[in-house]
């Protein structure tokens, strides 16, 4: 990033960290902290702090673009990985729209040529069609992406409350600052779960390794059965209520749809409390049911007992938005594009935009912009600068 924009961003971030006291996580003296800086491309790691004051002093001075902390607790957080002395770790989940197959990505995710600046849509490694140079991915996010992520989080919460018996007090949801949400659980009982245990939890939530006969799905299972048995029954029932077009969209073949049609005519059987699943014929349908019922969580974040995760209440270096805690009761209606905005001043700033699709920020809509200078309110400008979609023009 060129230095004028960088200085501007650093100033704004410094302003935020100076005006606000950032709450530290529980038992922070036992945690490792990591920082990304605006200029360099390296992460500062193995830092620990003894007091809140020490921490605030550091970030106000260094003004990192991103702040992370370990989900793990160590006896010596500043030591090298082998010598830290792992005590335990929070249970954390990450839902990122990056991993979700949303249709809107085609509209707003582009590749930008590093040589000539030409932007085009594509998947990953393609070279620039204009000059053949190497291209870099430029991802955007929108309400649809965030809604998809929210949906997965709601499914995750179902698992956490109904199946794992966690209470709403133990579960904290945070907007990631960019395209998804993090869920943190800090209660005593989960701290000592090892990697194998966490992998089992991940597999449970993603429906991986399901053996139907093991959960009694060889013959009848009713809609109010527990765990995956019930989920599969309910998911199957859902499909029975769908019309052909919706089913086709889910990727089911004519054969599958025919099978469902047969079952539908015997719907009364279901209402009397049983779904008969003859496993082999229903394999593809079953796969679809499992996909819809499971929550699409990041497998590595949860399994890794030594993970560095983004710190709540700090700013995200790619957007300038706040990693905000979302109270459970307000989760469904939560609108990060409004509520996670930190720079709300009415002042404006001139920026030269390379490319930005149409985007909503707060209550306003901006763009699309392409190779032009625009005057934007500070918050929106910060977003574009952070995303490296624009540079300071004044």
């Amino acid at each position: 990033m060129e230095s004028k924009s960088l200085e501007f961003l650093k100033e704004k971030f410094r302003e935020y960290y100076t005006k606000n006291d950032i709450a530290l996580p529980r038992d922070y003296t036992k945690r490792e902290f990591g920082f990304l800086l605006f200029k360099e491309n390296v992460m500062i790691r193995h830092r620990s702090f003894r007091t809140h004051e020490e921490f605030m002093k550091f970030i106000r001075h260094a003004v990192p673009s991103d702040i992370y902390y370990s989900s793990a607790y160590y006896t010596r957080p500043e030591a090298s990985m082998d010598n830290k002395g792992w005590i335990g770790a929070d249970l954390v989940f990450d839902v990122d729209a990056d991993h979700l197959p949303t249709e809107c990505k085609i509209k707003h995710d582009v590749l930008a040529c590093l040589k000539c600046g030409f932007t085009f849509s594509g998947k990953g490694n393609e070279s620039c069609p204009a000059c053949g140079g190497k291209a870099k991915e430029k991802k955007w996010f929108c309400e649809k992406c965030l809604d998809a992520a929210k949906n997965e989080v709601l499914k995750l919460l179902d698992f956490l409350f109904d199946d794992f018996g966690l209470s709403s007090k133990e579960v904290a949801i945070f907007f990631s600052g960019h395209r998804g949400f993090h869920v943190h659980i800090e209660s005593e009982e989960v701290l000592y779960l090892d990697q194998a245990a966490r992998k089992e939890i991940v597999d449970y939530i993603r429906g991986v390794g399901l053996n139907l006969s093991a959960i009694g799905l060889g013959s009848k299972v009713s809609l109010d059965s527990y765990s995956w048995a019930g989920r599969i029954a309910r998911g199957f029932y859902d499909l029975l209520l769908m019309d052909e077009n919706c089913l086709k969209k889910l990727g089911l073949t004519e054969y599958d749809i025919g099978l469902l049609e047969e079952e539908r005519s015997a719907l009364r059987r279901i209402e009397m409390g049983g779904v008969r699943m003859s496993r082999r014929r229903f394999k593809r349908i079953l796969q679809t049911v499992i996909e819809r019922q499971s929550a699409n969580i990041d497998t590595i974040v949860t399994t890794d007992v030594r993970r560095l995760i983004r710190m709540p209440y700090t700013l995200h270096g790619k957007t300038g938005l706040k990693v905000m805690k979302v109270p459970l009761a307000q989760f469904e209606a939560y609108d990060p594009l409004k509520e996670a905005i930190v720079f709300r001043e009415k002042d404006t700033v001139k920026v030269r935009v390379d490319f930005a699709p149409k985007f909503r920020f707060g209550d306003e809509e901006y763009g699309p912009f392409s190779n032009q200078v625009v005057e934007l309110p500070v918050g929106a400008a910060v977003l574009l600068l952070c995303k490296k979609a624009a540079t300071l023009a004044e």
């Binding site: 109904d162 794992f164 018996g165 009982e189 765990s227 048995a229």
Partner: protein
Amino acid sequence: MLLNLARIARYPFTIEAQTYLKKIGFSAQKLQDPIYRPVLNKAIERIRMCLNDDVQPHTDVQDKIEFLSFFAAEALVREINEDYLKRRFSLFEATRAYYTMIYQLPDRQREDILDIATGTFNWDIKAISVEISNRLYNFAVKFTHYLKIAPKFHDEKWKLVNRFLKDGYVYLTTEETARLLQEEIQRKIESDIDSFEEDINLVDLVKEQVDDIISKLAKYDVKLSKSEIKRIDLSKLPPCIMKIYNALLKGQKLSHIERFTFTSFMLNLGMSADSLINLFSQIADFNPDKTRYQVEHIAGMRGSKIKYSPPSCSTLKTHGVCINVECGVKHPLSYYRRKLKSENGKQVS
């Protein structure tokens, strides 16, 4: 607190039993007294049984000698100081406890299991009676305790995703609960033996019998002996490793995971780092320094000094290294060991 003497006798590893021992003023020191000779003899018998793979469910023996022989056996195992024996003994006694638990009548089963689980292992466990799809679930265990043990089992039925999990509790049958407890019991006995503090000399009192036990140990130890390691039998290599080896001989380039799998496999079989590096020199863009560094790193000679094991078959399948020939093993090293064993077996007969 009412002490249930019958239960203590059935499950001598429990905290309850240990407390009782202290109460009656018993310690390993006392075993040196000739009056306790029958206890020592019974302990030897117990240790012999564990090497014979002959698990008998515990009868309701309230015999004091039988009861004390457990501790005497622990003390002896500690003194003999052979890892393999410690593991066999703990496994044997834990399995015995398993059978004892499930052979009780239903009411006592429930009592025993709840008592052991909560009293000795601090489990969060409830007795229930729920029937789902023709299976009767008698216990519900908090998922955190379940996940401390169950992931070690390979059978799919233990995977959390295949269990009924409701409100944080995993539903289990009586046998399943007892099986999980068996693991806990085994670990506890091992740890109790390890942390045995008393300085005693019991082995001298029963020297002949102990010598006999130690000689039997060598027979049951399945570690590859030194002579076997020196000659790696190429005909016994699993097909995935064979494929990489052939590619190496042809000088073909390997992917990172192929190099890692091959290197760690061969190192584990005792091939020297130098011989391995020699093998790799056949590849076109061979870099001797880089190769030496990598091989020595995997061998645990550098940096974090971790000695790496080759990946499991499941990982190899994920990365396309497995050539899908249905070897019937879960780990490439098991394939080699199995082939070795069956050959040895043939030679003996």
